[in-house]
Symmetry: C2
Subunit: 481 residues, 2 copies
Amino acid sequence: MFEANVYANRRRVLLERMAAMTQEGARGIAVFLGNVDAAMNYRGNDYKFRQDSNFLYYWGIDEPCFAAVLDLDSADECLYGNDVDIDDIIWMGPQPSVASKGGLIGCAVTKPLAEFAAAVADAVAKGRPVHYLPPARYYNQMTLAELTGASSAAVRKTAPMASENGKHASEELVKAVVSMRLIKEQCEIDEIDKACDIGYLMHTEARRGCKPGVLEQHIVGRMEGVTYSYGWGPSFTTILSQNGETLHNHSHHQIITPGRLLVVDAGAESNTHYASDFTRTYPCSGKFTTKQREIYDIVEQANELAFSLTKPGTSYWEVHCATVRYMLEQLKALDFVRGDVDEMTACGISGLFMPHGLGHNMGMDVHDMEDLGENYVGYGDERQRSPLLGMGNLRMARDLKPGHVISDEPGIYFIPALIEQWKREGTDKGFVNYAKLEEYYDFGGIRLEDDVLVTEDGARRLGSQRLPIKSSDIEEIMANE
Amino acid sequence: MFEANVYANRRRVLLERMAAMTQEGARGIAVFLGNVDAAMNYRGNDYKFRQDSNFLYYWGIDEPCFAAVLDLDSADECLYGNDVDIDDIIWMGPQPSVASKGGLIGCAVTKPLAEFAAAVADAVAKGRPVHYLPPARYYNQMTLAELTGASSAAVRKTAPMASENGKHASEELVKAVVSMRLIKEQCEIDEIDKACDIGYLMHTEARRGCKPGVLEQHIVGRMEGVTYSYGWGPSFTTILSQNGETLHNHSHHQIITPGRLLVVDAGAESNTHYASDFTRTYPCSGKFTTKQREIYDIVEQANELAFSLTKPGTSYWEVHCATVRYMLEQLKALDFVRGDVDEMTACGISGLFMPHGLGHNMGMDVHDMEDLGENYVGYGDERQRSPLLGMGNLRMARDLKPGHVISDEPGIYFIPALIEQWKREGTDKGFVNYAKLEEYYDFGGIRLEDDVLVTEDGARRLGSQRLPIKSSDIEEIMANE
């Protein structure tokens, strides 16, 4: 938890941004729902508690069963939560009062949770706008539907508040929140640096574990153990696979096998809930084959190029385009594709090799604020999403500004099912050399990812040390550990 | 996953048990909902997938977005799920077809998930009974409310089917499922043994980590890492605390401090989703003080006594009573309580020292089937729950039968807030020596727990080795590691 004034200041700025988008005297209220516990296999046997990120950002309380209301007209604010009774003390221990928790986040007014519904009902009854964010969790979806009388499907949709008061998530509130959370404060950057340091330890376990004969699951357990020892846990389900051509492969039942490549895409969440997200690809035998090294070095250089281009004055859209163009040039040199590189870039040929975007915003969520709507977060009013495979999956396309934190994660994959589909449907417009590709059906994939902060005059890779990435460094380190 | 005939056989037995409780020709259908993914911080960034335990038991499929219907009249059965498309293959890899998955669980008929709602709607329209279990997850609660037209609160309540068809969870189905899952099959016992072996490794990490100066969280991370390396993960949120007097303490921010006691209550879930659950209590300095050893040895002997009494021909209610009576005798010898032990047992004085029950059923859920209703699971029609603190918290009171798997977990705690409340309200009826108790306000608590299988002629502690438990053994081992 940060100092109280961090949260109080954020709520003050939010009031200002909402004031700019709403009409004086008829602004209404902004409603924030914290999370309740989420059942793992039964209610009471819950997953490790994770607070709603927006609630954490504005209200800081990292416990279940809290809610809050910010009055956009009067600037009154209230935190709702329950004090504990003797039964809670027996099972959960003595707890500070809700009032004292309010003090920790600069909120002077606190009330029992039971009064929250009445406060919202009062605003609804008076016809005041009720702004809320699209709920991530099903419980909050049910709660918002009950509070507003909208359907559970409707409260997940975002629309301008004027369109139907309270029946949909508020576009104004989404835009105001996105505008704030996109630009990281120094205290947040410090926490992301910490999350990256845990990610470094985690990936070091992975590299050391990558030895022929080891079960993938054993490595994953050691990596995730690190995240629980030093932080909150993994920031997303660990991807560790010798089938790296499957982008989000979550099975870990294979044995590390010489000659294959191991893609490890994993990150940690700090105790304060900021995420890291790194990818490295290791040769299972400790040494790359010539085929592997050729592709690896293209991806490594693409990662380097993207980083060098990341700075204010350009957009991540442009950085993505320049990076995939570079990869196509190199793939052309190896005879995977033939023809004019500009033309094939325009046709989206790179999507066959990299069907995902160069990167995404990061923060409290590893894909920051994804639940508020990827276009609000990564595009805003600046540009329209491309319909092409790969380019169209780019999650962050905005003009870069100091304080943006983004991933830099180019990759090259050989996905037999996708290649066969393109061949069948002629999607490649004649640019692709399928005969060459056939030799790569058992290759897998390579992805290399760092976390980057946009600074005043460029960019900085986050974390106190960069994970080894050059193919020669990887081989040397793996030979010695 | 077990062999196909395990699941087919379970469904056959379920049909028989349901037939015994429902009327021929008007039995209706039994509906089973698998789980969908559960959002951690946003939808798409999910907690590690955990299938619904009842779905796993009867339908075996360990993946999101499946459902099933068993026709109790015709014995027809159908598994509902979706085959993957090219987009799924890019992100998740090639997958076997739903039809082939049906084959793995002996279910010949499979259909797309979209047809599931229509199948239920058809039964509702025809006025056929629609049996379902109370849903653990909010998503399934919403789904059942939509399918049946009942409120989301109503579908969580269990009632006899005749009372209001489809508007509540089915008591008949709950009883039939409980009767089956309570008695473990050999293939299940084998899996619980495996889960116990992972629990053994996990607790070994804990004991080795228990050294002055170490942060509790670092130990927890290493323990949980073991569960991910060798199984699915922790079977419940790890309890590791020097404030053992708080029964379910989940904060781990303290430093291991000489002179204190460390309570570690933790278990693992096997890859097939069977749970272990052990508790040990360690002296942080490696040696117990005299005060600590006196209490520790009472709890250790109580654990031993409970195990020796656990066999067919008695009930766990009786084992609980005999165990707490033994502890009261010993506490009387130490002058914590004064008077007639039988009288104080009848008054529930033991609840001050052990405000929980001796144990609970275990299986795929660490508190097995808790969501089906603790009284259905642990009491049935055999006896009524006690209103007393401690005794009233006993989760398993049934007559013991071969195949029952239960925890044996006596404890003694000194909970200042509870002691003060009893003193204030005279709850102790004069039996308690508060002057003596005051010297123990900083003591903490001790709990010692094993997992036990009831056999034909007695009981067996599960797992291939028992975690060290004797105070002298603990001290010797801690001195050498």
